[in-house]
Symmetry: C2
Subunit: 261 residues, 2 copies
């Protein structure tokens, strides 16, 4: 049985439904989406796991589902690359939560929106003295981990400036990269572009928000699903198999095992 996915068109329709019949504001949804990303991005592993090397095999109900493979003690510096739209907004929210978890985020956000919400999310980071940089090559040298929040499910067509070089860097870096909703530059239905920036981009982790998109069939890496706010009615309307979150987690690792979704 193939993993059920949500097309780009249906992802946009579902978002509209959440904000109309679902009665959510975009502030709420982005807060919860960014929180999901931060929980995956921090890769929380329960400290008891160090006592038992196979403890991570004891999944539900014996283990929480988000692992801290990069605890702050092993590298706090997280570079968050934000695009101009909602994907970038999710990245801004995630960066704020990561700061509160003890990480040291730096934000690359070259195309800042004039939209009120994004301006406020930016100010919330500035109030925490989180640095913003315009020099991606320098920033990547000073990072331990990267969050790719450049393009999400509404991306199509060509990667515009200044992002081609950024995507090439993400493709070439040896640092761990966590992508939000989609590896940036990938087509939502068809996966990696046939050539150019991103053609061989394969992030180590992907956080699908609300539900996986068709591109996941081209993704090889750790796969999380976040966005614990979908009602059964909406799940049914879009024929989604929502994952089973653990306890109070806002994100769940679904891996490549199709049965898990």
């Amino acid at each position: 049985m193939a993993m059920k996915t949500l097309s780009a068109k249906n992802a946009a329709a579902l978002d509209k439904d959440l904000m109309s019949i679902g009665a959510f504001s975009i502030d709420q949804l982005m807060e919860l989406a960014g929180l999901s990303v931060s929980q995956a991005g921090s890769h929380f592993i329960h400290p008891l796991a160090c006592f038992h090397p196979k403890l991570h095999l004891l999944r539900p109900p014996y283990f929480i589902s988000v692992f801290r493979i990069h605890p702050p003690s092993r590298g706090r510096r997280i570079l968050v690359a934000c695009g101009p739209g909602n994907n970038g907004g999710d990245g801004l929210v995630a960066a704020r939560h990561l700061w509160h978890y003890g990480y040291k985020p730096t934000i690359y956000y070259p195309k800042q929106s004039k939209n009120d919400l994004y301006q406020r999310l930016t100010m919330q980071l500035k109030n925490l003295s989180v640095p913003f940089t315009e020099d991606f090559p320098k920033a990547i040298k000073e990072a331990d981990h990267i969050i790719d929040a450049i393009f999400g499910f509404s991306f199509s067509g060509e990667v515009r400036e200044p992002f081609p070089a950024v995507i090439t860097s993400l493709q070439e870096t040896h640092l761990p990269v966590t992508s939000v909703d989609a590896p940036s530059s990938w087509n939502i239905e068809d996966g990696p572009p046939p050539s150019g920036p991103g053609a061989s981009f394969m992030p180590g982790a992907l956080v699908s928000l609300t539900a996986p998109k068709p591109l996941v069939k081209f993704f090889k890496g750790r796969h999380f699903v976040g966005g614990r706010f979908v009602s059964p009615d909406i799940a049914q309307k879009y024929d989604l198999d929502l994952p089973e979150y653990e306890g109070i987690d806002q994100v769940v690792e679904v891996g490549s095992d199709e049965q898990k979704l």
Copy 2:
């Protein structure tokens, strides 16, 4: 050294600061406040604890800070009593998250606000088929746990109808009660009222949002602090000692040990 607290006046000023210089929207703040309450309300205990009776003594960094003393398997029915203002809004958000955690919330919300945000929070619960009741005595008989989100830091003066009987019920029940920010009917500075409803009300747990209020010195029970969004600047302005949250938790138990804050 006494626990640092935030007066009712300063709590109101801090809230204003969060939404002006802090650049937060009320939607964001209420979402995070309600999430904190839900994490305390679900009393998350790591399932491994069942293997070792003293595991809960292995606190930081060996244990997560919110205990599930009432896991869903031991009673999923949570009655959430919501007042007419922001405290009630926090309760509505908490109820939604608790539903997603697998609990069965029922909402008592007799004075529903016409404010757009509260109407949307209500609709979000109705979309999950969460029942609303107007019969508190009946609802309390069918509950395993109660969240008291009736009055918060802006409460003063007398308890108005229909809440006196509700507060008397909360005072008399043997069910566990978790209060949001303040045991309802308590004066924010002076604690329990000298007589009338609430004079001997002592909930089992209290979740102080942003920072404890002066009433905590009259409180005997499990004390949590939530609201992981305060910047160092604001903490300094209001002379707060923010608690040290664990990992990705949105809430932390501070107990009665003054050194912990």
